[in-house]
Amino acid sequence: MVAGGTNVIPDMRARVLKSDVLIDLSRLKSLAYIKEEKKKIRIGSLTTISELASSKVIQKYAPILSQAANQLGNPLVRNRATIGGNLADASPAADTAVPLLALEAMVVAERDGGKQRQTPIDQFFTGPNRTVLRRGEMIKEIIFPKPNSNAKMGYSKLGLRNAMAISVASIGVLMEMERDKCKEARIGLGAVAAKPIRAYRTEEMLVGEEITKQLIEACCGAITKEISPITDIRASAEYRRSMTSVLLGRLIRQVTE
């Protein structure tokens, strides 16, 4: 299936993707939407990355998603690339996956005949460029609950350049404080494992605690044990580990000050 074509066409040129038939989804405009409901936000799979980045609804309720969208590829690519395509391509560095993990999104897949099934995003990816999608299924929409009004979030993408960069490490953090203690913490990570992941053990260290300098340092240490980065042409595993630690520290401080 092809929508924006921003991964499919380069993959076909590189002969990484070989297919006799392409099903064009790009004209399914009824699947390009961002709907605000009382308790959740629903995004149609054909919504372009540009639309995500500039959506007032997303900027208001899920700024980490619009920030991540704004750093995907470049402006020309963002006008064609879609959120469904970014998730279905399932790069371990997929830009929209990281905030969607922190937002605890649900991926709704549909197949011929209208049968739908929902998969929580942290179960959607099964490996590099692999998802739970079966033959004949496509992503219909992505749903996430509106975060509580006191939730603060931050996103950071480290790349080798300012645009057109595949992440070296990317991280999205959502935290809710209640009085002085952390009530909720969610950390999504990209490019540091075989798929985009949540850092559940590090999150547990934060919940119920006051955010002290020592705790932040401890979390920055702990997160390096939850990730399994590789060395590739963009960065070494050591650098990714080191940067994940630094970025987490910055984001926790940013969302809790």
Binding site: G5, G73, L76, M164
Partner: protein
């Protein structure tokens, strides 16, 4: 060799409707250059990394190398020639010439298409916003400064 099945295409290019029979794997870039003769649209990388192939598709700047031409069926495409001509140049083209923003000229078509779509949406940009807007258009010659100057100057004149 088995003949390729072709499909009918209708495309509005710079205001004119064109028809053709195309193969499904043909890109918009290829169709514009080879089929219809709009050779101002350049192929730099063919994979969406350089921006030389930028055209406006329904008003949005896109990489024509990443669009299959049939995906643009019945839609409006604008190339550089639809933005300005030697007889009637667009202010952006005049600024690019005046400011020395053109050396070899290969990136220029994509730059101006991108800049036009950008200024249409953001008529009073900062220099940083301009730089972000052209972050998908590579230039190997100028070092970008004069391109940013030209777009900034054009934005002031267009008001």
């Amino acid at each position: 060799m088995k003949p390729i099945k072709t499909y009918p295409l209708e495309l509005n290019i710079n205001g004119e409707w064109k028809k053709a029979e195309v193969a499904p794997y043909e890109t918009l870039l290829h169709a514009l250059r080879e089929r219809f003769g709009y050779t101002e649209v350049k192929e730099g990388c063919g994979k969406g990394d350089c921006g030389s192939c930028a055209v406006l598709l329904d008003g949005k700047a896109v990489n024509s190398c990443l669009t299959l031409v049939l995906q643009a069926h019945k839609q409006k495409v604008v190339t550089l020639k639809g933005i300005g001509t030697p007889e009637k140049p667009h202010l952006l083209q005049e600024s690019f010439v005046k400011r020395g923003a053109i050396q070899c000229g290969f990136c220029t078509s994509g730059m101006i298409v991108t800049a036009k779509a950008f200024l249409d949406r953001n008529p009073s940009p900062s220099r940083d916003e301009i730089k972000t807007a052209i972050s998908g258009n590579l230039c190997r010659c100028t070092g970008y400064k004069k391109i940013v100057d030209a777009i900034e100057e054009a934005s002031k004149k267009l008001k």
